[in-house]
């Protein structure tokens, strides 16, 4: 019987630079975690009832048979793709598999609250899976509970984070089939750089960004195929562009590493220049969209620099908010973006990965959201 309450959060992600380049053989993409947009998963004393031991391991993909059995158990239709169905399935799989490997997960109540919009390429499913993995592994004592009396937040050891990440990846596999593993790495550690899961665990400066959803639906699969087609059609023109995108990720990483934790405005022009260059490159490889051009134009009219983030072809864009940006300019930018039918959130990049929180440290907004559930 687990009698404590665990409050966890994990960040979503934005791709700062390197989208598409990674898919087509380039090494780098730069994905800082998004703070403020987190999934929280408090897990107090209660009941769960899944007890079928089986062949579960964090190194093996969930099998078709396992998922079929779980869907039958939960009454989820074979082809169901609603976020709620997939989230339930991932929970069942992880709970069962972690119990099988580390001993029974005690009866728990799981309460999930998320600020991340789903299906916007912001890693909401990974943030969910990371929180769930950390909560379940902690509840069955596979990893420690690092939060000490009087502390408001705590994180796990590197070894424990590696275990959390591999189980979160299992959850992502249940939800997405064949995920890259990038999103759960960001949710677990924070910053992610590289094709292989090589991580920048060093301090990342806190950058304010405005995240804007154009609400233009797009298919990542179609966009990736389009980029591939362009590369095959014009290899001598397109391959250098991928090289340049790769170099932008490296340059941005160097700039971020050289920046102090609370950077002054003088560091921003180069970050803004890299945003502009990359946005042009993303248009060249064919993943731009008139809605994203509009987004860039609107923010440029307020002196701010934007680029698409993720697959492109619509979806989300990010705008760098300089320190010292006046409230008036910020409000006007948001108002103009909303007038285009877009939705905006302000957030910070450079937040830590999965974190354990004391109940007393939660802010009023989160407490309100949790009490309403």
């Amino acid at each position: 019987m687990w009698e404590r309450s665990l409050v966890l959060s994990a960040p979503g992600k934005v791709i700062l630079h390197g989208e598409h380049a990674v898919v087509h053989g380039k090494v780098r993409s730069l994905l800082p975690p998004v703070e403020g947009l987190r999934s929280g998963s408090p897990a107090p004393d209660a009941a769960s009832a899944l007890r079928t031991r089986s062949d579960f391991d964090e190194s093996k993909s969930p099998s078709v048979e396992q998922l079929h059995t779980l869907k039958e158990f939960a009454g989820i239709a074979a082809g169901a793709s609603a976020p709620e169905s997939l989230a339930t399935l991932a929970f069942l799989y992880m709970c069962l598999a972690i119990s099988a490997k580390y001993g029974d997960v005690p009866n728990v109540d799981i309460l999930v609250w998320s600020e991340l919009p789903t299906g916007a390429g912001l890693g909401s499913s990974a943030a969910y899976a990371v929180c769930l993995a950390a909560a379940l592994l902690t509840a069955c004592r596979a990893i420690s509970c690092p939060l000490k009396e009087g502390e408001s937040t705590a994180r796990w050891t590197e070894e424990e984070l590696t275990l959390i990440n591999s189980w979160a990846f299992q959850g992502e596999r249940v939800i997405h089939g064949n995920p890259s593993g990038v999103d759960n790495a960001v949710g677990t550690w924070g910053m992610y750089v590289g094709k292989e899961v090589s991580l920048v665990t060093s301090r990342v400066p806190m950058l304010r960004i405005l995240l804007t959803n154009t609400k233009v639906p797009r298919s990542t699969k179609v966009l990736v195929a389009g980029v591939k087609e362009k590369i095959l059609k014009f290899p001598a023109i397109m391959n250098p562009v991928l090289d340049s995108i790769d170099a932008i990720s490296q340059e941005c990483q160097s700039v971020l590493e050289a920046m102090p934790a609370n950077p002054s405005p003088e560091y921003y022009p180069v970050l803004e220049e890299l945003f502009d260059i990359n946005q042009h490159h993303l248009n060249v490889i064919g993943v731009g969209h008139p809605s994203l051009d509009m987004l860039c134009r609107v923010t440029a009219s307020h002196g701010l620099h934007s680029k698409l983030t993720g697959a492109g072809g619509g979806g989300c864009g990010i705008t760098l908010l300089r320190p010292g940006l006046e409230a008036e300019g910020y409000d006007a930018t948001k108002r103009d973006l909303c007038a285009c039918g877009f939705e905006c959130w302000e957030t910070n990049i450079g937040a830590p990965g999965v974190t354990l929180h004391s109940s007393s440290s939660l802010n009023a907004e989160v407490l309100h959201a949790l009490s309403e559930s």
Copy 2:
């Protein structure tokens, strides 16, 4: 005594692809001639009076002393930069130098009429110098007069064109100091490809383009320096972009060579795509301008594709006009561009170089312009 009348024309140039790349070590730029925009130079019987023999040769740059003497003779101030002053100086130099080398140029009247705006990067001075060189060399019989009775146009042999080009280059040197030699090569031969004066003398398909002057003044020197600075600042990001621009020139050249003389619309999407990609690249290397963005946006709203041509930072843009483009769409595009304060001319690229015309073949517009002079 020269008793015939010679009517000559030479085309201006647009840079189709490769601006700036050539300056920074890349081999290719693609500069087709611009038809319709021509300098005409009829040279009938009359008088000129420059008779100082001196050390003149088409292989030697005009010396400071020679130019000083000519300025004194013509009453042109030392630092004069008005097109009229420079044009007079170039004429005096060429007339004197050609007389010195090939025997006296007979007394001639020179009448110059041009459709090319000056100072817009369209090679107007080169078209002028090419016409002048061809007229003077023909008048003093250094080259033949290829126009036969009953023919409406004629061109010189390859050897004669080479001589015309080298004397036109002398005229360009008088006007510009240290010109690249590209503009006079286009004026002489038509198509130009490459850093070295390697020429595509083969047939080039006739393409309709709209040439738009944003009227935003810019300094080529400042723009070139800005590109250099960007390359030094971000070599790993910028050098691949120059490679890509180079590849665009090559790809475009291949497409043009594969096109029939009067290409059908199916050839256009790839040319349009190359325009779009290159325009993004030119923005990346820092030679874009809001006026050029506006130009591209206006034409895109009519389904047409544009890019800047020349140094950028304002100046001119070119828009590809598809065959079968309806008059309505064309008129609306022109109207919208003019509403931005821009000036447009329709022209063709792929015209021949310097050409001799029979007086009877001139169209009414040209005859009218000449009769008014």
